[in-house]
């Protein structure tokens, strides 16, 4: 652990804060919208974020393996510890829990600000609020290596701007789906024919639906909207491509990606060698902190501007 002039905020500190606030926000949520609706928001957001996050890691946008298998405490290596208490495939559970905290709070706040407003306008307000908060959190994560960007793109303060566009649309669509399905008990016209085939009923009005069926329909809509959300996010990110990518990926992806082919490791600064996957397990990929622990010679300013890395 490095205590120099600047303090390293460890991933476990971040996790403790998230889990603590999860308990508090869940409690407040049950007071406001009831236990059942809060639980639905939680499970829906877990499905929503874990699917999207894992997909993003697999396609090589970022990963959570900066600490993987070389976590150090009091100058001793803790083998097998990734720096995160619980991983769901390639994504820490606490990341989804964090999304729930911000998502539910922003959703409830936007509802109070515009109680009779259109659901999509409320969703915009909630999303703006969430992105504003994330714009402070993400640069902290970059310098502390909670996660690392592995995609070439347009970067601002070490964070891919596409990330903020993604965060915006993630809450925008999720808040819309949740309010339309669980609060208004309504439907989406384009999904009705498919839902009719799956649930064997007309899903236009769900006000007389039992809670179990309502849950299933909500979860189905959550999954059905994932491709829509990804498509809109990619579309909205296109102007950034016109501006031009301003940076290669700070780290190589642990998964082979089109970005790696387009911007091969050879095109990156020499000190960023391609990642090696030990035993085929991406969580065991080593990174600069491991090398620091071993006393190896590592660049003080690796590509991507992570200038905080100390020998």
């Amino acid at each position: 652990m490095y205590f120099g002039p600047h303090l390293r905020i460890e991933s476990w500190m971040f996790e403790i804060v998230l889990y603590l606030f999860f308990i508090l926000v869940f409690w407040a949520g049950t007071k406001i919208i009831g236990r059942e609706k809060t639980s639905l928001f939680l499970w829906g957001s877990l499905i929503w974020t874990l699917t999207v996050e894992n997909a993003m890691v697999i396609i090589g946008a970022y990963d959570y393996f900066a600490y993987a298998n070389y976590y150090c405490w009091a100058d001793k290596l803790i083998p097998g510890f990734s720096g995160w208490s619980c991983m769901v495939f390639f994504v820490p559970l606490s990341i989804s829990i964090g999304w729930f905290i911000f998502g539910l709070s922003a959703f409830i706040i936007s509802d109070r600000l515009l109680p009779q407003g259109n659901i999509w306008i409320k969703a915009v307000v909630a999303s703006v609020m969430m992105v504003s908060l994330d714009m402070l959190m993400d640069p902290i994560s970059v310098v502390n290596e909670w996660w690392r960007w592995t995609v070439a793109g347009f970067y601002f303060r070490g964070v891919s701007v596409g990330n903020y566009i993604g965060w915006f649309f993630m809450l925008f669509f999720f808040a819309g789906i949740y309010e339309r399905s669980v609060i208004e008990k309504g439907s989406f016209a384009w999904l009705r024919p498919i839902e009719g085939l799956i649930f064997r009923r007309n899903t236009k009005d769900l006000s007389d639906t039992d809670s179990q069926t309502l849950k299933k329909i909500f979860y189905f809509r959550t999954v059905a909207f994932i491709p829509v959300m990804l498509f809109v996010t990619i579309l909205a990110s296109q102007p950034l491509k016109q501006i031009g990518f301003n940076r290669y990926a700070p780290f190589n992806s642990v998964f082979p990606t089109t970005y790696d082919q387009k911007y091969p490791a050879s095109a990156k600064p020499a000190d960023m060698a391609p990642a090696v996957i030990p035993d085929g397990d991406p969580r065991k990929v080593e990174g600069p902190r491991c090398e620091i622990a071993k006393g190896a010679n590592v660049p003080t300013q690796p590509a991507g501007g992570a200038s905080h890395v100390q020998k």
Partner: protein, 93 residues
């Protein structure tokens, strides 16, 4: 008192919950701002002070919305408490 589709039956408990959720979100933001002040300078920054200034600037939409929300949530709670007090006084008479 405002009407919300989220919870048509507004009570002092739900209004307290609304105040608390605003407090929690603001507390998270303050934790992040504190961390920004004590950790390494962000990419492109030379000092922690820049981190704080950056955090406050990008947090303006958040701060404006949360301030508005807290003002409304506290007002709702005060009105509800006053209404309850008036109701219980009326019952006593």
């Amino acid at each position: 008192m405002f009407k919300s589709k989220l919870n048509p039956e507004v009570s002092a408990e739900t209004l307290k919950g609304r105040v608390w959720i605003g407090v929690f979100l603001l507390a998270i933001w303050l934790v992040f701002l504190w961390w920004a002040g004590i950790t390494f300078p962000f990419v492109g920054h030379d000092a922690n002070g820049q981190n704080i200034v950056y955090g406050v600037i990008v947090g303006i939409p958040f701060l404006v919305l949360i301030t508005l929300y807290m003002a409304l949530a506290v007002k709702d709670l005060k009105e509800a408490v006053a209404a309850m007090k008036a109701f219980s006084k009326g019952n006593r008479k």
